[in-house]
């Protein structure tokens, strides 16, 4: 593998040219263009020069046949006369005749002798003729063996047609040259166009490979294949950047929030070691505090990993149809006892069934985190409300407390990892609870927001609302039926 990689890293110029898709497309274009030109020239040739030749040949054949017929019917003498007569009538001097008797003596005609016979060849000949006035020319000649042994040769001079053919050949050659030129020019333009459209993507990719993740492929107004490619690249980059942010969040968390408890555990243990106390209870206390600190580290670590896992969307595997009403009842029962222990009242209100598709452990975690916060921030003896209702396509859940509430600027920052409002700094917590809530709600395709709970101004309370996509109503009966059948 390293070998081939090296070859790809240092390719020769020819290899680079051949491996360029632009070049290959251009080459294909040039070849197809040239093939079209050749086909056109071929048809033209066959239709003009070819036709002229075939016309000459058929005229010669018809003339020869007519003369041979005449000779067979009326004898050699009449044939000789006919030949002479035709020669006399031929004003342009293009006809060639020769009649030889069986003994090989010339009876009539303007040709001195027959061309030397070529064994195995057809009876067609190509002759060079000399004219006194107009230089050398060319002729087609057909030699017939008559039944009585005499030979008749009939020909036509084709110099004129030959010239025409030469002219045509020359024209076609020029045209072919022009075609080759345009094919190459077209190929070049095509390659450059391809390159020009692909350059933004490759430049962006190179910049990103260089470490600048903020780069995006510029999209032109064409809305063509290249733009679609660029758009999907950008979508991919957005997703990668989002995941990178998640990873960065995890490392930030490790850097900031885990350092403190780790340092605390370390200091405590070190102190116990240095004091060399003889009292085993002191030592024991130090060790227990150290373990508690480490457990706290583990909890924060788990929470951060869980958020990252949820944000990466990796937990959709556990999605299943569930009834949120049952889940809310479980959560209310679980946390109602905590509220009761603080003299608080947990009011609940939701319909008998709220079917949706989701991850029940994560959704319980969401409600648990919100109820835990509500219990923590509501004064003893206060009220907490957990309610839910269906609103067309959505299930809307509301958790309201009688706590200090959240200021407008804090609301924007809630859900950021480790953010804790100033008023909450004295209560225990990691600042991760709402991050997880937000991540889980987003994983379910829902939304999360905050409102005032409607208490007095000095203690307005906070209402956390989130909505999740509900299962379609037609499926309600189905899932409810499945539930009751399962129970």
């Amino acid at each position: 593998m390293p070998h081939t990689r090296r070859r790809q890293q240092h390719p020769g110029p020819l290899w680079r040219l051949l491996s360029s898709a632009g070049f290959r497309f251009a080459l294909l274009f040039a070849v197809v263009f040239l093939a079209a030109g050749l086909a056109f020239a071929g048809v033209l040739w066959w239709g003009t020069a070819g036709t002229l030749e075939r016309q000459t040949d058929s005229a010669i054949r018809a003339d020869a046949m007519a003369l041979a017929e005449r000779g067979r019917d009326s004898g050699l003498a009449v044939l000789a006369e006919a030949v002479e007569e035709r020669l006399a009538l031929d004003a342009e001097g293009l006809s060639i005749y020769l009649l030889l008797d069986p003994a090989g003596r010339r009876l009539a005609g303007n040709l001195a002798a027959l061309p030397p016979p070529r064994p195995g060849e057809s009876s067609w000949y190509r002759l060079s003729v000399d004219h006194d006035d107009s230089g050398p020319g060319e002729a087609r000649l057909l030699v017939l063996d008559l039944p009585d042994g005499s030979k008749l040769a009939v020909g036509r001079e084709v110099s004129e047609k030959q010239r025409l053919r030469d002219l045509l050949t020359e024209g076609l050659a020029w045209a072919a040259g022009a075609a080759l030129f345009f094919a190459l020019l077209g190929a070049l333009l095509m390659r450059r166009a391809l390159e020009r459209r692909l350059t933004p993507a490759t430049t962006t990719a190179a910049l990103i490979a260089g470490g600048d993740l903020s780069q995006r492929v510029p999209i032109s107004l064409h809305d063509d294949e290249f733009d679609r490619l660029g758009a999907s690249m950008n979508a991919m980059l957005d997703r990668i950047a989002h995941l990178m942010d998640g990873v960065r969040g995890v490392s930030d968390a490790i850097a900031h929030d885990l350092r403190t408890p780790i340092a605390r555990a370390r200091n405590g243990l070190e102190e116990a070691l240095l004091e060399e106390s003889d009292d085993p209870a002191v030592l024991r206390g130090a060790i227990e505090r150290g373990i508690a600190d480490l457990d706290n580290v583990t909890r924060v670590f788990q929470a951060v990993l869980r958020i990252a896992e949820v944000e990466a969307g990796a937990r959709r595997a556990a999605f299943a149809p569930l009834d949120l009403s049952l889940l809310l009842a479980d959560a209310a029962e679980l946390y109602g006892a905590s509220a009761e222990a603080r003299g608080q009242t947990l009011n609940t209100d939701w319909p008998a069934s709220l079917p949706l598709v989701g991850d029940r452990d994560l959704l319980l975690q969401v409600v648990a985190n919100l109820l835990d916060n509500a219990v923590k921030f509501t004064v003893p003896g206060g009220n907490i409300t957990l309610s839910a209702q269906r609103e067309s396509e959505w299930v809307l859940v509301r958790v309201a407390d009688e706590g200090p509430g959240l200021s407008a600027q804090d609301r924007g920052r809630v859900g950021e990892r480790f953010f804790r409002a100033d008023s909450a700094r004295t209560t225990p917590g990691s600042g991760l609870g709402l991050s997880l809530v937000r991540a889980v709600v987003q994983l379910h395709g829902g939304a999360l927001w905050f409102e005032d709970a409607g208490g007095p101004p000095q203690r307005p309370g906070l209402a956390v609302l989130f909505q999740l996509p509900a299962s379609p109503l037609s499926a309600n009966a189905l899932s409810a039926g499945a539930l009751s059948a399962g129970a």
């Binding site: 227990e288 373990i291 480490l294 457990d295 583990t298 909890r299 788990q302 929470a303 990993l305 869980r306 896992e309 990796a314 937990r315 595997a317 556990a318 479980d330 029962e333 679980l334 946390y335 006892a337 905590s338 009761e340 222990a341 029940r360 452990d361 994560l362 319980l364 975690q365 648990a368 985190n369 835990d372 219990v375 923590k376 917590g429 609870g433």
Partner: protein, 226 residues
């Protein structure tokens, strides 16, 4: 109990082995999956404690799948550094009976080991559970202490049932959350404690002898002796 421990990390292996031995169990320890499979298939154990990732070409999941394929139904507890939910599901699907994520408190491991190793026989369903003068009737779903009926809610009934089925054993808070509430999540605060103390109040009201005991740094235990 005779326990097979397959754990490739020497320090964790030593720690778990020592702890289980101190709790009175016999522990065989091996560090790779192939030997573990060989021993688990060839000898008789009450419980297997397996690391999820093991050297030797046979990881924990493969090991359990092979054993289950051979009709071996020894309870299996997975120890794993992989905390993802999918990993948990994979381990349990392969035939594992419980799954504990590292790092763990030894008390948690011990409680789970004892719960798994002394599971009640499935073919003899009890209809009544009894600890000292506390009785729980699974058919009429009633609880009586010293002959006096105690008014109890359905969830409290399940909580008590679980504790009584594991009478004399430590049951941790996470185990209760998983077994009684059937959710896997981090409750942030000790919600379980509130429920247990409420149950405890109902049971011990007017009694001089508490039955549900808090085990420091571990969980709860119901037992007759004080």
């Amino acid at each position: 109990m005779r326990i097979l421990l397959v754990e490739d990390d020497a320090e964790v292996g030593r720690f778990v082995r020592k702890g289980l031995q101190e709790a009175g169990h016999t522990v065989e320890h091996t560090t790779n999956g192939r030997d573990g499979l060989f021993m688990a298939a060839g000898e008789s154990f009450d419980l297997l404690v397996l690391d999820r990732m093991l050297p030797g070409g046979v990881d924990g999941v493969r090991l359990v799948e092979t054993l289950r394929g051979q009709g071996n139904h020894t309870p299996v507890l997975f120890l794993s550094a992989m905390s993802g939910v999918d990993e948990r599901v994979k381990g349990l699907k392969a035939g594992g009976d419980d799954y504990l994520v590292k790092p763990f408190a030894f008390a948690e491991l011990l409680a789970r080991v004892e719960a798994l190793g002394r599971r009640p026989a499935v073919d003899a369903p009890a209809t009544r559970l009894k600890v000292a003068d506390l009785e729980l009737d699974l058919l009429s779903r009633t609880v009586t202490r010293a002959g006096k009926k105690i008014d109890i809610q359905p969830r409290e009934f399940r909580l008590l049932e679980h504790l009584m089925r594991h009478a004399g054993q430590v049951v941790t808070r996470t185990m209760l959350l998983e077994k009684v509430w059937d959710y896997h999540f981090d409750p942030q605060t000790n919600v379980i404690d509130v429920h247990v103390s409420r149950l405890r109040q109902k049971l011990d009201k007017g009694q001089d002898r508490p039955l549900i005991h808090t085990v420091r740094n571990a969980g709860y235990m119901i037992r007759a002796e004080p």
